[in-house]
Amino acid sequence: MYIAQRLSDFFEKFSNNIEFAFLVIISILAFSVLYYYLIKFLLDNNSGIVVAVFGFVTVIAGGIVICNERIGGTIFLLVPSLFVVVVVALYSVELKRLIWTRKNMRLLDVKHGDGSFYDEEKIQTCITEIIKALQDMSKNDMGAIIVLSTDNVPSQILDSGIALNSDISSELIESVFFPKTPLHDGAMIISGTKIVAAGCFLPLSQDMDKIPKDLGTRHRAGIGVTETIDVVSLIVSEETGIISIARAGKITRYADAVMLKQILSKYYWQELEGIKK
């Protein structure tokens, strides 16, 4: 009866007071948007269990507030507030990556200093050269990490290596990663149609559970950099010659020429499927 009374009071107030009704509708819209993006973010990060726990806590807390006369409704605000705080605390790395992704421009929209845009033919050449270099290094069991970035690599990573600012060619890439050369041990950073730097040190992945035990430090570095920055890592194993692709903390092994072309095309924001050479 008490619950029915509270319900009745609420609807009476909603019907008689336009200002209150407007406030309620705006609040519902605001909370809907908040909950939509929070739940979508959690589901995209395979955390359905957190959504279920939140739903359960909402129902229990709501029941307690409704049934208890002495508890005011405003204390229920703690539930969504705590939800946001928990999500930010548990998923700070993923949130950081999401924020950095929003800042990235389409690579093809980036103008050169002289006002011209990237040339499609040049991009095709870059893709071909990178794939050729990866396949040659794979054949010869030369270890390599190439990071595809959109000018979003932190300066401390770039500064740890040697700036090259050169055009992309398979010969240069293979020369850099040739064993016992000074720059062969670090990562190469590519941004657009330029090799920005080589010999760079990357942060290692801290997630030991997801990485197969047979992968070494090179792969951990290739994965680790993708956990915090929206970049793609192309890794060639020194032991097996296997080419792997890492993105958003996940690794796909045994990448072939088709997969590499898809990844590189996507990186350069072009649809190249069906285009004959």
Partner: protein, 45 residues
């Protein structure tokens, strides 16, 4: 013949994926709205 079959199969799979995504989005929006209504209702009691 095989190419046509594969293309039709691929289109059918695309349509199924689009439909699945639509219902997933719809479910997500409904869940968000329901939780929002419950939250606002309880806060204003």
């Amino acid at each position: 013949m095989n190419k046509e079959f594969n293309r039709a199969q691929s289109e059918s799979n695309d349509n199924k994926t689009k439909s699945k995504n639509f219902w997933k989005q719809f479910g997500l929006i409904c869940l968000a709205v329901v939780l929002a209504v419950i939250t606002v209702f309880i806060i204003n009691l």
